[in-house]
């Protein structure tokens, strides 16, 4: 073992962490950073090889509707998911009954089921002749001859909520649990109503985990391919992830596919900057603390 160590030291004075990190960093540079940079560059290269905006022009001409649709889906679904998740997490935090304890376990189911399986579930559950329509017809709420058409915005929203509300609850509820009971008791004892306890104490004190949940939910909706692909496919309007797949599979048109990719980068620009800043601070902060401890 001593031999290994001396060898490490002798090799041109590379510090040990350099060798430890080399494979991982090398892999990420080659398999992540290089394709990332090349996706941005390719989007500005015209089919004839010169630098131009022709791919973006084509993207706007062909896919403006889908870009607007994607923006609508991502923003509205993120808001709905977060509102539902905060309400559910508040309920879990504030009540301690047999029902709430049971719910605090079973709500997680959606998190563990892969997106591709969720997509298949929604395809059968929300189909015109699927279980939801049949059940609604049995209850007399709809006419079975005119079933609800859900392979569109509505179904996509249901699918995203089914999968991502539990994920957001997990993060937000974790934050709520860090808030000491004494704050809540103090507020309740001075007669604060539940609404005020939530808006003045729980949500403000838990701002960071709510923001992280927002950012991650939003980024996931922008980048999810399976659910819109299997639910809506090539119908108009669809999401830009589906358009990218079509562009590549049917036309081998990497220019427009990458221009659409760059549009999806722009979608997440604000949330990405926030997430990166926040996470870097967190990780580096922890490291400083540990150095002090040592």
């Amino acid at each position: 073992m001593a031999v290994t160590q001396t060898r490490l030291r002798h090799k041109g004075g590379i510090p040990p962490y350099g060798l430890l990190l080399l494979p991982a960093v090398g892999f990420m540079l080659l398999v992540y950073a290089y394709p990332f940079v090349s996706s941005v560059i390719t989007s500005f290269v015209s089919p004839s090889g010169g630098l131009s905006l022709v791919n973006f022009q084509k993207t706007i001409d062909l896919y403006l509707k889908d870009i607007v649709f994607t923006l609508l889906v991502t923003t509205s679904n993120t808001v709905m998911i977060l509102v539902a998740a905060i309400m559910f997490a508040v309920y879990l935090r504030m009540s301690d009954t047999a029902v709430s304890r049971l719910l605090s376990h079973i709500y997680k189911l959606g998190i563990f089921i892969p997106f591709v399986v969720v997509a298949q579930m929604m395809r059968s559950f929300l189909a015109p002749h699927g279980m939801l329509n049949v059940a609604l017809a049995q209850l007399g709420l709809i006419n079975i001859d005119r079933p609800l058409q859900l392979f569109n915005y509505a179904g996509l929203t249901f699918g995203f909520m089914w999968k991502l509300v539990p994920f957001a609850v997990l993060i937000v509820h974790g934050g709520f649990q860090m808030i000491d009971n004494s704050y809540l008791e103090a507020a309740r004892s001075t007669g604060a109503r539940l609404f005020h306890v939530v808006t003045r104490i729980l949500v403000p004190m838990n701002k960071s985990s709510i923001l992280v949940a927002t950012v991650l939910v939003y980024a996931q909706i922008v980048s999810t391919f399976t659910l819109p692909y299997m639910l809506i496919g090539g119908k108009i309007p669809t999401t830009i992830t589906v358009d990218i797949a079509h562009r590549v599979n049917y036309f081998r048109d990497f220019g427009v596919a990458n221009a659409l990719g760059v549009v999806s980068y722009v979608f997440v620009l604000v949330t990405a900057v926030y997430y990166l800043k926040n996470s870097m601070k967190q990780h580096q902060g922890k490291k400083v603390k540990e150095v002090v401890h040592a």
């Binding site: 430890l20 892999f27 394709p35 563990f112 969720v118 279980m131 997430y275």
Partner: protein, 275 residues
């Protein structure tokens, strides 16, 4: 007071039933489709149920039905890809996670940035361009190409889980071992590694699950030659609901079981993973 409590209980029960219906509805739709042998619309339930499609999918009975394929080869291929992905990813992430946890790294910000980027930006353009690069070097549509794409997903999470694990081990333990003459590597092997084992195992299981269920990367760099289980699910979904449902359940069960086992060890933001 008594009435108030009753109302509260009633509201809670309504909530419980609602959550159960929303959660169980889509899952049961999948289960019913997987055993439906005859199902004429608009009946609420199939006229005939049986395990015919399960037996066909599992290769125990041959069938001439449209879209009837045994999912066994795809299942074995998926398991093989997942195992190789885990081995290579762990070999890369254990040293990296250890370095991130134990050393103060100059340019550490850049390294962190590199590993956080994939969580913040959509990954689809990455796979699109990997396909382009793969096509030039002959990796498109090959199993090694798919494994590299799966490793990308695995390594990003693996680095965070392993570095968090190593961070939770007090440095004083390794220092104690070194003070009685152990080399750095021995101290790592005999002290840190065993203590980190549960976290590393969780990381391995997580990478395995992520590889098993990976769709987008395989779709771009693997099709049409590398038919993993999610690809089989996708192609069956177009024309045979029963086979698609059987495949979906086969894919879902290990994910749910393993995730329940390891979720306690993982930080909330990693559990969700990427779509």
């Amino acid at each position: 007071m008594h009435r108030k409590r009753l109302i509260r209980l009633a509201i809670e029960l309504v909530l419980l039933v609602l959550v159960l219906l929303i959660l169980i509805g889509p899952v049961s739709s999948l289960v019913i489709w997987s055993i439906a042998e005859t199902w004429y619309w608009p009946n609420a339930f199939p006229q005939e149920v049986g395990l015919q499609y399960w037996l066909q999918a599992l290769g125990l009975r041959t069938s001439l039905a449209i879209g009837a394929v045994s999912i066994v080869p795809a299942f074995l291929l998926s398991i093989m890809i997942a195992v190789i992905t885990v081995v290579f990813s762990m070999a890369i992430t254990i040293p990296a996670g250890y370095a991130l946890a134990k050393y103060h790294i100059p340019l550490g910000g850049f390294v962190l940035f590199l590993f956080l980027m994939p969580n913040a930006f959509p990954q689809m353009p990455i796979f699109v361009n990997l396909l382009r690069i793969y096509t030039d070097i002959g990796l498109a549509g090959t199993i090694p190409g798919v494994i590299i794409a799966h490793m990308l997903v695995g390594i990003v999470f693996g680095v965070w889980i392993t570095s968090a694990t190593f961070k939770s081990i007090p440095p004083s333990l390794e220092e104690a071992a070194r003070s009685v003459g152990a080399t750095k590597f021995t101290a790592f092997r005999r002290i840190s590694l065993p203590l980190a084992a549960p976290g590393l195992l969780a990381s391995a299981v997580f990478i395995f699950i992520k590889s098993l269920e990976e769709f987008t990367g395989t779709f771009f760099v693997g099709l049409p030659f590398v038919q993993t289980l999610p690809m089989t699910l996708y192609s069956a979904s177009g024309y045979n609901m029963q086979f698609a449902s059987v495949t979906a359940i086969v894919l879902m069960v290990p994910s749910v079981l393993f995730m329940i086992l390891i979720q306690k060890v993982l930080r909330a933001e990693y559990v969700g993973g990427m779509g």
